[in-house]
Amino acid sequence: MADTVPLRLNVPEPEVRPGGKPDFSRVSIPKAGSVDRPPVDVAPEAIRDMAWSIIRVMNRKGEAVGPWAGTLTPEETLSGLRDMMRVRAFDKRMLMAQRQGKTSFYMQCLGEEAIACAFRKAMSDGDMNFPTYRQQGLLIAGGYPMVDMMNQIFSNTKDPIKGRQLPVMYSSKAHGFFTISGNLATQFVQAVGWAMASAISRDTRIAAAWIGDGSTAESDFHAGLVFASTYKAPVVLNIVNNQWAISTFQGIARGGSGTFAARGHGFGIPSLRVDGNDYLAVHAVAKWAIERARSNLGPVLIEYVTYRAAAHSTSDDPSAYRPKEESDAWPLGDPVERLKNHLVAIGAWSPERHAQAEAEIDAEVLAAQKQAEANGTLHSGPKASPRDIFEDVYDVMPPNLRRQRQEAGF
């Protein structure tokens, strides 16, 4: 062994750090329309390469091209644009509200709007999402009232979850939105269980699991894949790769596999990779995956390639760990802009109507905010009841909690 060279720890690093010039030349981006669309019952092995490619529909000219194009009418596409614009306007307002001290915390999904919005439109009522904190698009595109979201964010008297949870941790069974956990990845395997339950019950509903790139490193991700693979659970396993996990670039979670979609290959799960900033591509891929799951063909894994354009949360300042210009350099562009351009290109939309829609949506969000603020905000106005924290720990309050509630003076 004398002539063996000493070992060295490999610590992956992003290409650039603050001060450096953003460089995404390593991200190879296939042409829109260039990736095949296999039949939904394709064998996983036959589409291996799709885990290293990127399904894209909109080309630079804004045209929808290739085999994945055509899953939405122009009206549906326009409604999709409006959903994304709503999400963006909502985020902007709530960020401001947090800065004004009306809530303790906020998380935007800036740049990632297409993913949840388009996915939601491919689902059916009754299907269930197990989301992370960055899928507000599922609620907004699903018609959940913005004012209820705001009530939650403001922890006010109409907060559906009674002030108990951190802002943005929504819950709505009726809207197919599982109660968000602050603990990363736990929902991933729960989604698989929900899907197994649907199969056990000879139901036709499917589940969708959501996770971030960084969180795929968590062990519950593995548990989800193991159970989904073994029982062929009717679940779509979504990985939102927005390049960052707080300050940590995706290479730390990903390791040597090249992509997150590749993780599915260890389990014989068909794995697709899609341009997460291309609303049409996301919709088409989601539709394909949901159809496959609902046809009892088992789970599908999808990696959405996107970029977290904003800070991780209001507690974060990304300029400490990545160049400010990185977001602009991101080669897949902005999802709202791109869908707008597409609609303009096909003659269904115009810059003027877009500006007008923006104004309408701003007004809509502002109206919702006024309505929500009337129910109070975190530090002023009416409040979620302190007495309420003793409820719902159990279905029936046990003696220890009754004693404690009394001691607390309620």
Binding site: M128, F130, P160, I161, K162, R164, Q165, M169, S171, S172, K173, F178, T179, S181, G182, N183, T186, V189, Q190, A191, V192, G193, W194, A195, M196, A197, S198, A199, I200, S201, A207, S219, D220, H222, A223, G224, V226, F227, T230, D392, V393, Y394, D395, P398, P399, N400, L401
Partner: protein, 334 residues
């Protein structure tokens, strides 16, 4: 009926009454579990009501949670309580909190069964009693049956309960009421009145303790295997101890405890788990708070030592009747 048979029977009753009850875990399907508590269920109810799971405790509990939020009532087995830790996050951060954090929008009626306790030469990874790690977690119920009758009734109640229930089965009691005299043959349940288990549906309510032995000198708080150790210690020491079998640790039947200690004026707590921060600490804290002016002696805790559960020396670790009897004598003398 043995405790194993009673547990099996509880499953059958629950599964027959409610098509939403599903059962899974490691080796529980075709084989029926390493302790055979689920034997016959797959045959009787089909592969999608009872099945083998991959060896991933987080996955077992995590999928069960998903199923429960769908509307099923999963009852899952962790092969040994010693292996519940990989599932601890799913139990603590998820099962216990889903109702509260969603304000009742989602609920999580799951039962998590696991054989607990030592005395089978299982060493440190087949002997643990982790109940205190669950009693500290609000949102969970924690049950420890001590006999076949209770095991069946409590398990049915647990499965029917709308909250997550951790159900710890003292494996040393599976085949008979073991009192800690490991050198003597164990009486089978067939010779014990609590081995008589009615057919069909009944429940033993969660949250209710029972006085197993009436007495006036000192109250012994026990659960699981320690109930028989306590009975033996009372008899062998000749001290007229009142032995309370807690049955449910959370919610705790404090009324029964307080009434007894107020009567006897003395209290000894016994459990097999490691002493420090064990459930006995909570019991001692409550008893001194609620019975302070009635106490004539310090509350004593007899428990497993603050060491891993040893293999060859397990009877040194196990809090048997001699140690408990000595404590009873001491408490009577102080």
């Amino acid at each position: 009926m043995t405790m194993i048979e009673a547990i099996r029977d509880a499953h059958v009753v629950a599964m027959e009454r409610d098509g939403k009850v599903v059962v899974f875990g490691e080796d529980v399907g075709y084989f029926g579990g390493v302790f055979r508590c689920t034997q016959g269920l797959q045959e009787g109810f089909g592969k999608d009501r009872c099945f083998d799971s991959p060896i991933n405790e987080a996955g077992i509990v995590g999928t069960a949670i998903g199923m429960a939020t769908y509307g099923l009532r999963p009852c899952v087995e962790i092969q040994f309580a010693d292996y519940v830790y990989p599932a601890y996050d799913q139990i603590v951060s998820e099962a216990a909190r889903i109702r509260h954090r969603s304000a009742g929008d989602f609920t999580c009626p799951i039962t998590i069964r696991m054989p607990t306790g030592g005395g089978i030469f299982g060493g440190q990874t087949h002997s643990q009693s982790p109940e205190a790690l669950f009693t500290h977690v609000s949102g969970l119920k924690v049950v420890v049956p001590s006999n076949p009758y209770d095991a069946k009734g409590l398990l049915i109640a647990a499965i029917e309960d709308d909250n997550p229930v951790v159900f710890l089965e003292p494996k040393r009691l599976y085949n008979g009421p073991f009192d800690g005299h490991h050198d003597r043959p164990v009486t089978p349940w067939s010779k014990h009145p609590l081995g008589e288990v009615p057919a069909g549906h009944y429940t033993v309510p969660l949250g209710k303790a029972v006085v197993r032995r009436e007495g006036s000198a000192v109250t012994v708080l026990a659960y699981g295997t320690m109930v028989y150790v306590a009975e033996a210690a009372a008899q062998e020491s000749g001290i007229d101890a009142e032995v309370i079998d807690l049955r449910t640790l959370h919610p705790l039947d404090l009324d029964t405890i307080v009434a007894s200690v107020k009567k006897t004026g003395r209290c000894v707590i016994v459990h097999e788990a490691t002493l420090t921060s064990g459930f006995g600490a909570e019991l001692a804290a409550l008893v001194q708070e609620h019975c302070f002016y009635h106490l004539e002696a310090p509350i004593r805790r007899i428990a497993g030592w603050d060491t891993p559960y040893p293999h060859a020396q397990e009877w040194t670790y196990f809090p048997g009747p001699a140690r408990l009897a000595a404590a009873l004598v001491e408490v009577m003398e102080s």
